[in-house]
Amino acid sequence: MAASYRVNEEVDGRPPCAPGGPPKTQRPDNTAFKQQRLPTWQPILTAGTVMPTFFIIGLVSGPIGIGVLVTSNRVQEIHIDYTGTEPSSPCNKCLSTVVTPCICTINFTLEEAFKGNVYMYYGLSNFYQNHRHYVKSRDDNQLSGDFRALLNPSRECEPYRRNEDKPIAPCGAIANSMFNDTLELFLITNKSNPTPVSIPLKKKGITWWTDKNVKFRNPPGGGSLEERFKGTTKPLNWRTPVYMLDSEDDNNGFINEDFIVWMRIAALPTFRKLYRLIEQNNDLHPTLPAGRYYLNITYNYPVHSFDGRKRMILSTISWMGGKNPFLGIAYITVGSISFLLGVVMLVIDHKYKNNSNTDIALQFYILKTKLWHMYQGQPYSA
């Protein structure tokens, strides 16, 4: 009997309660959870309760903003545009010339000395490294030294995957379009001595440690890099194969730091990439003393076709990176707004506290009811 009962009950979804069965009660458990009586915190957002929050935010944000702003302002930065689209620019000649390599020189003056480590960047603008097809066009396996991927790069690299039946190493559009200008910096010490002093630019240490040591690896093998890259060909736009990017072995091939930096694609179409490090020699002398400098550019990289700009950027660095006043200003703004709101809340709270929401609530209520009736198309009749 119980069985037939269950047929129906199951199909109907009724809870089982077979008559004549054991006296099992259907009474639900009287627990806090089941009866939805769990202890709760019921935040009621009123002027009075949240006023402190606003003040705290205001009081905390302001100083943070000021601190950040000061830090940002302390960062020294200089941009040198060397695109050469202006006829007056020394690099203008390189736009059209067939001479390769085209070398141009740009003079500039540092008004203040740069202290501490100075970072040298190249900046490109209007360069859409983040274009979807471009972003995809690489083979991380190949770059991490996978031998199979070296000789048979990913399809994503098309059409920069193979050249004349040889696999391209490194394959893909990103590698193919690697930045290949060479920048050199000279300090003109004084007018009397015209021989400029070459500023030592450190090539290494410009990448993330993990990139250089984990993510990027040269193909395995014992021999020289050339042997290890045997059977591959250089990207179309490159002048040299990948194993000849640098003379030093620990900065050559896929672990060449310029290459690694380039392969970390920029987020926005206007970006800078770390090019060189100018390390502080000692604490007494500024890394880059104030004075006149000139920048020696081996101009290879064409940007005018897409209205791009090329810049060289020298910048010191703070705990929060480069120069950017935005964060500081934003913090100060938010801080003051929230302080202001705190004051408003204080006023509201003070003014309406005694009436405990009734009067003003009533006013609003009547207004609302009237509106509701108007919305309904009927006059408000109390």
Binding site: M1, E10, V11, D12, P15, T25, Q26, R27, P28, K34, Q35, T40, Q42, P43, I44, L45, A47, V50, I64, F127, Y128, Q129, N130, H133, Y134, V135, K136, S137, R138, L143, S144, D146, S154, R155, E156, P159, W208, D211, V214, R264, A267, L268, F271, S305, W319, G322, N324, F326, A330, Y331, L341, M345, I360, Y365, I366, Q376, G377, P379, S381, A382
Partner: protein, 1406 residues
């Protein structure tokens, strides 16, 4: 599956339509022409059997959808029937097109796979459960006749086939639908309990096919050579048509009385044999399983439209992207640096690239259409249902049941109900019918004692049902030692009790004894002490006492008038006792029918003389002519008397003859003494004759031990009432009914016919051969309207008799009106005497009707009409049906919640109105309008008069109340101080529901805050609901308990079944089942409110979340040439929705609690926010979207400006964006949450931790995986970078500032009612009580004003305020006249009170 679901729907429809017309299934489709032939599954018929039965299914059932093999394809197929899943499948496929591919192919599949898997697992588990049950059932064992072994052998249910002979013993379950061929019961009866089928626990009788009952030995399958032809399988439980054709072509009709349904249990019958006609899935029980119901809630419909808006938004965004990409590309077409050519070297033209980009963007921004929304909604709904079902407040001790949520997906609709349609009987009332009053032959018997008893019950019993249980139990124990005591002290108090009753000497003693005779049986339905106990009315008892054998002796020559009335009384009680379908059983042996095996007719024969005598004294002949005939027979009288005495002496009666002749009380005293002794002997005695006689003696203690199983509580109440007057129904078989009639002893009525009750005829009749008069008598019992029309005005006996009847009729009508006014249910009892020839003729026609298969129902009704006419009115009864506990409070609360309540009842107008007053559906100060017109035009005129009246009264708002589509009804009735109520009768309703008057009717109802529809048929009920629902576009809820409410329940947005005494049909059709009406208020006010608020907030949050997150990607497109790049790692992108932010909204949707349950119950006004959909208005959606846009802008541009021009790389840039978005999205939820528990906190923190954990682990492990978005070491780098934290904090603050400020200002400047109520929750209990008082006080002032208005009008003499009922009648009768000059005064008052009212306004509304 499509096919299957469709057939399911169809089935559902059929079922409902059948129920809608109360089993009158003339409109059932698909019948004609398709009959089924059943041939015994035996050797001689092998060929024929194969020919016919080859196509019939066997008894194996399979309710599972899937098998092991087809699970995956079929489940997938089913899931892809949902539009949403199809859309995501489309996206996945799209991502496989290389030209538009946005992500890695596998990643796009992930969400879909996860969603499909979750649902597949859910479906699989459900199916497996069903499979296990099926298997268990299929392997149950039953006895099937085997050809080979020539006997019944054990056989699994699944192997039973159509045509098999099955033998079942008592308490076995019926394995298939079988036609009953044999029962061990000598009368060919079999009792079944259908609780497995419809939940009705009372026993039902089934009969052996005519012609087989007489066969004494068990039917031998080998000799069975007939064939059965019946209708094709259908789902109508109340119908079975067919015939059995013997080999000699003789046909015997089959009806549902011959069919045993699968799933029922055999009771009280030793063994039965039957032949299977329907098996397995073709059985009625299986066809009646409608399966789970799928309804779409209003909120979900709303959400779906917003999903469409999201799609539009998506398309716009994608078009923007596509267009912009085209333009961008045209500028850089030749730059091969970053515009990568196709693998084959050619460059895609900007236009084409733009086209491709459109699709790419769709993939990229797909999350805008929230795939997880649907899954989350399902999970949240399960959680909500879980909480509803585990609410201990819904638990009913009495029935050991709690609320059942049968529809899983419309819980939130509970929070938006605007119209409530309620049945009356059993829903508002207890459906415990208590005999209160009766009127016989024009005399009203008040039953004062009974009323007093009931009052005391009302006080004591209603609170503690258990108490009476134990009480009755102990009384039962007390009753046992009575028998020996009876023997030792003959003539003691107990023994004399019945005689007291009869003589009517002391009613007080009677009442005391009556109460002590309570027997309460748990098994029997409708037999609580309240119902079984009736204290007889002294006056009636006196008159009843005159029905003695003396009557017949004293007849000669003396008073005739009282005699006539006495006969009326006698017939009245006989009708009460036999005009029903009650099954008699003895409770001490539950389910064991009292066996009267030797009811062969000896008592009838022995009463021969009395019968002859009585024949002459019957009602018809007892008027003047019969007197003459009576005079002619004086010599015969003594002789009959002597023979009567001989009858008594045959009962081993030792009492002397003198005692018999002496005053009745002595004689019966003697009788009862001996009866007592007999009772003790009874177990040992096997002599049926003596047994039956002894039992049937008046006053036998056994009588009280009888227990009646009735199909409806009214029937039981009447039988119990008759028993109280010593007219006890002793036994019932298909052929005869035996009644102990006080002094007359056992009377055995030969039962010729029963015309069962149906809702069309509104009456039932029994045709019996009267044992005394030997005439064919029809006893009819039915609604007064039905009976009054059928009374005969003409009597062959002349004007005197006719006048008599007229007077009785008038008086009875007056009494009926009075009863109805007191809220009693009225029934009329009538009879008709037929001559044998008349009867024979009717029988012939009736037989034709019975055996026809196709339009049997109409023919049967016609046939009934031929029988039930020219009736003689005997009297009327008034039965009280008490209100359920807590109903007035619930109704009041629901009214305050702004729900318009309609009461739809089949009762008469006065009864309905009075019940409405009693349950506070109508208030004394309400203006009552009654619509009761006889024609269409009159109805129209009346309606327009009332409308004008109403409009005049509130001059400010004329016709606007009419149906402006799509706008919610103005809450007019609450604005004006006085509420209007409308009462409409069934006939008028018919007119009002017609196309031409619908509008006016609805307009009228829009003005009234309560509508009472009386005399409504089930069909009308559903039509009313349908009309209101479709034309006013409001949320409707229908609540009912009986089969007549099923159609209404199914039509409404939410159907609620009250699992009461009338079986389970309403519950089976409902979405929610509760055990008492009062639970409805908590279900709606608390759970409805919560479910609605929760779900709507969660859905809005989902939209917000997805838009806010996806827009980050969209903003990035402006900086990547609209190329469809994402700056986030794909895995994080996908997991963001799937893992990191999926649990908090679900928890929010399940546990959110804006206001505590107590406050919600105490302030029903809060419910109105749900009615107006305040939590989720179209505007809310757009504001949410706007906020999402703002937040995503902030989330994008703060990091953008921070990292602008720096050397940040693409995925490192994405990381703070993502992290900030996570914080913003989670904190947004906290701002929106009204309550936070440790579960919330756990989930929030868990989400954040899981995000960082994933990012760190993924960042550490993934060196080359997942190209091109390589997350390697990014999170680690960032976590060491202070700027990252600064950016995240700043972003979060700015993004959330506006919403936070808005919420704060809202909280302190213009708090919604909900918010204000929330304040109450924080107070201490004392403060809370104080605040609540204040709050309510504001609301009450409103009422006071309206009361004042009422009183002032009352003072001016137009509206005397008296008792509710008087008031009702007054306003009912003189409504139109009264209101002529009312408005003027009231408008003036309105002006005067407008100021205070305005200030009070705020509370009862919003």
């Amino acid at each position: 599956m499509g096919g299957r679901t469709r057939s399911d729907d169809e089935r559902l429809y059929n079922y409902s339509s059948l129920l809608a017309c109360g089993g009158k299934s003339s409109q059932t489709p698909k019948l004609a022409g398709k009959h089924r032939v059943v041939i015994p599954h035996l050797q001689p018929f092998k060929d024929e059997y194969n020919r016919f039965s080859g196509t019939y299914v066997n008894n194996r059932i399979r309710t599972t959808k899937y098998t092991l093999l087809n699970f995956v394809p079929r489940n997938l197929f089913e899931q892809f029937h949902r539009a949403a899943n199809l859309y995501f499948l489309f996206l996945v496929v799209l991502n496989w097109v290389p030209l538009v591919e946005a992500f890695q192919k596998e990643i796009t599949m992930l969400p879909l796979v996860v969603v499909l898997t979750i649902i597949a697992i859910k479906d699989g588990l459900e199916d497996y459960r069903k499979y296990k049950i099926d298997k268990h059932i299929n392997n149950l064992v039953t006895k099937v006749y085997s050809r080979k072994e020539k006997k019944y052998v054990d056989c699994c249910w699944k192997d039973v086939t159509v045509g098999d002979f099955i033998r079942l013993s008592c308490n076995e379950i019926i394995p298939a639908d079988i036609v009953l061929l044999f029962s061990t019961d000598p009368d060919g009866i079999c009792h079944i309990e259908t609780s497995g089928l419809d939940g009705e626990s009372n026993l039902k009788q089934r009969q052996v096919v005519r012609g087989y009952a007489e066969q004494d030995p068990e039917v031998d399958p080998e000799k069975f050579s007939s064939r059965i032809e019946c209708e094709s399988p259908n789902n109508d439980l109340n119908r079975f048509r067919g015939f059995l054709e013997h080999s000699n072509k003789q046909r015997v009709g089959l009806s549902k009385e011959n069919l045993l349904l699968r799933g029922c249990t055999i009771r009280n019958t030793e063994a039965v044999v039957g032949i299977v006609v329907y098996a397995g899935h073709e059985t009625k029980a299986m066809l009646n399983n409608p399966g789970p119901r799928y309804k779409r809630s209003k909120l979900e419909r709303r959400a779906n439209t917003d999903v469409l808006w999201c799609i539009l938004l998506l398309v716009i965004m994608c078009l923007t992207g596509a267009l912009a990409h085209g333009i961008w590309l045209s500028r850089y077409e030749s730059v091969l640096f970053f515009n990568i050519p196709e693998p084959d070297g050619h460059i895609v033209s900007p236009a084409l690239a733009g086209f491709y980009m459109f699709w790419t963007m769709i993939i990229l921004l797909q999350v805008l259409i929230p795939i997880s929304l649907y899954v989350s909604i399902e999970i949240v709904k399960l959680g909500q249902i879980y909480f509803i079902q585990s609410d201990v407040d819904f638990y009913s001790e009495k029935m050991d049941s709690t609320v059942q949520c049968r529809a899983l997906n419309i819980a939130e609709d509970l929070g938006q109900i605007q119209y409530l349609f309620s049945d009356k009987t059993g829903t508002l009332t207890e459906n415990k019918m208590v005999f209160r009053r009766c009127s016989v032959a024009g005399f009203d018997y008040c039953h004062e004692e009974n009323a007093r008893r009931l009052e005391s019950y009302q006080e004591a019993v209603s609170e503690d049902e258990d108490y009476t249980d134990t009480l009755s139990g102990s009384l039962n124990n007390v009753a046992k030692p009575r028998a020996p005591c009876c023997r030792t002290v003959p003539g003691g108090a107990l023994g004399s009790k019945p005689s007291d009753h009869l003589s009517g000497s002391t009613c007080a003693v009677g009442s005391g004894e009556g109460a002590s005779e309570v027997f309460h049986s748990r098994q029997a339905a409708f037999s609580s002490p309240i119902e079984t106990d009736v204290v007889p009315d002294t006056r009636l008892l006196n008159k009843f006492g005159q029905i003695t054998p003396h009557l017949f002796t004293s007849l000669d020559g003396t008073i005739q008038r009282p005699a006539l009335e006495t006969f009326y009384i006698m017939d009245f009680f006989i009708a009460l006792a036999i005009c029903n379908t009650v099954v008699v059983c003895a409770p001490n042996q539950p389910r064991q029918k009292i066996r009267l095996s030797s009811l062969s007719g000896t008592p009838i024969r022995s009463l021969e003389e009395i019968k002859n005598l009585f024949q002459r004294l019957s009602v018809r002949k007892s008027s003047s002519p019969s007197l003459a005939s009576g005079k002619e027979l004086p010599p015969g009288v003594p002789s009959t008397f002597v023979s009567r005495l001989s009858l008594f002496s045959r009962m081993k009666l030792t009492s002397p003859m003198e005692e018999e002749v002496s005053p009745m009380n002595e004689s019966s005293q003697g009788c009862s003494n001996s009866a007592c002794c007999m009772q003790i002997e009874k177990p040992h005695s096997s002599a049926g004759l003596t047994d039956s006689k002894v039992e049937s003696l008046p006053g036998s203690p056994l009588a009280s031990n009888l227990c009646y199983e009735a199909e409806s509580p009214d029937e039981a109440a009447l039988v119990y009432a008759a028993r109280a007057y010593q007219c006890t129904l002793r036994s019932r078989t298909p052929e005869q009914v035996m009644v102990d009639f006080a002094a007359l002893g056992p009377l055995t009525f030969q039962l010729l016919h029963i015309l069962p009750f149906d809702s069309v005829r509104k009456r039932m009749s029994v045709v019996v051969r009267h044992p005394l008069s030997n005439e064919v008598v029809v006893y009819t019992k039915g609604a007064d309207s039905a009976i009054m029309e059928l009374l005969s005005g003409v009597s062959p006996d002349g004007a005197n008799q006719e006048k008599e009847q007229m007077i009785i009729r008038e008086k009875t009508q007056k009494h009926l009106d009075d009863y109805a006014k007191r809220g009693l249910r009225t029934l009329c009892i009538a009879k008709k005497v037929m001559s044998d020839t008349e009867y024979a003729e009717w029988l012939r026609n009736h037989f034709l009707a019975e055996t026809s298969i196709d339009n049997r129902e109409e023919l049967l009704i016609e046939s009934a009409m031929r029988l039930e006419n020219k009736l003689t009115l005997l009297g009327a009864t008034g039965i009280e049906d008490r209100l359920q506990e807590g109903v007035p409070e619930s109704i009041e609360a629901l009214h305050k919640a702004g729900i318009k309540i309609w009461m739809l009842t089949g009762d008469k107008q006065e009864t309905a109105v009075n019940i409405a007053y009693a349950c506070k559906l109508l208030e004394p100060e309400d203006r009552l309008f009654i619509l009761n017109s006889q024609s269409n035009d009159a109805c129209e005129v009346e309606m327009s008069v009332i409308l004008k009246e109403l409009q005049k009264k509130t001059p400010a708002s004329p016709g606007q109340a009419s149906l402006r589509k799509c706008s919610p009804q103005p809450p007019l009735t609450q604005d004006s101080g006085q509420r209007a109520a409308l009462v409409i009768t069934g006939k008028t309703l018919e007119f009002a529901l017609q196309e031409s008057l619908q509008r006016q009717f609805l307009e009228l109802t829009a003005w009234s805050h309560t509508v009472v529809c009386c005399r409504a048929t089930p069909l009308q009920k559903s039509e009313v609901v349908k009309l209101v629902r479709s034309h006013l576009q409001v949320m409707t809820l229908a609540i009912g308990d009986g089969a007549n409410d099923v159609s209404m329940i199914q039509v409404a947005d939410i159907g609620i079944g009250v699992s009461g005494q009338e079986g389970m049909q309403a519950v089976m059709a409902s979405d929610f089942a509760i055990s008492q009406f009062r639970h409805l208020s908590k279900l709606l006010l608390v759970h409805g409110h919560w479910c609605y608020t929760r779900l709507s907030n969660m859905i809005l949050y989902f939209f917000y979340k997805n838009v806010a997150y996806v827009n980050l990607l969209f903003w990035y497109q402006f900086f990547c040439g609209f190329s469809g790049t994402s700056m986030t790692d794909y895995w994080v992108l996908i997991f963001f929705n799937l893992l990191f932010t999926s649990a908090p909204p679900v928890i929010y949707g399940v546990l959110e609690k804006d206001v505590s349950a107590d406050t919600l119950m105490q302030l029903p006004e809060l419910y109105q926010s749900g009615q107006k959909s305040e939590a989720y208005l179209p505007l809310t959606f757009w504001i949410t979207l706007l906020d999402a846009f703002y937040q995503s802008l902030i989330c994008f541009f703060v990091p953008y400006f921070t990292y602008q021009g720096s050397d940040i790389d693409i995925f490192t840039f994405g990381n703070p964006l993502n992290t900030a978005a996570l914080f913003v999205i989670l904190l947004h939820l906290i701002i929106e949450s009204q309550n936070l528990t440790w579960i919330h906190m756990l989930v929030m923190i868990g989400s954040i931790l899981s995000y960082f954990f994933f990012a760190l682990v993924f960042g550490a492990m993934c060196v080359t995986c997942n190209p091109p978005s390589n997350p390697y070491w990014i999170m680690q780098e960032h976590m060491l970078d202070p700027v990252f934290y600064l950016v995240c904090i700043l972003t979060t603050c700015i993004a959330l500032l506006p919403r936070f400020t808005y919420r704060v200002l809202q909280g302190s400047l213009f708090p919604s009612l909900i918010l204000r109520a929330k304040h109450l929750d924080r107070l201490t209990p004392e403060e809370r009580a104080e605040a609540l008082k204040k709050w309510r006080g504001a609301g009450k002032k409103n009422q006071v004003t309206s009361k004042y208005v009422d009183q002032s009008t009352g003072k001016s003499g137009r509206r005397p305020v008296s008792g509710p009922s008087a008031h009702a009648m007054k306003s009912a009768t003189s409504c139109a006249a009264e209101q002529g000059d009312l408005p003027l005064c009231e408008t003036a008052l309105d002006l005067g009170f407008s100021a205070p009212e305005a200030s009070d306004m705020m509370d009862p509304k919003i």
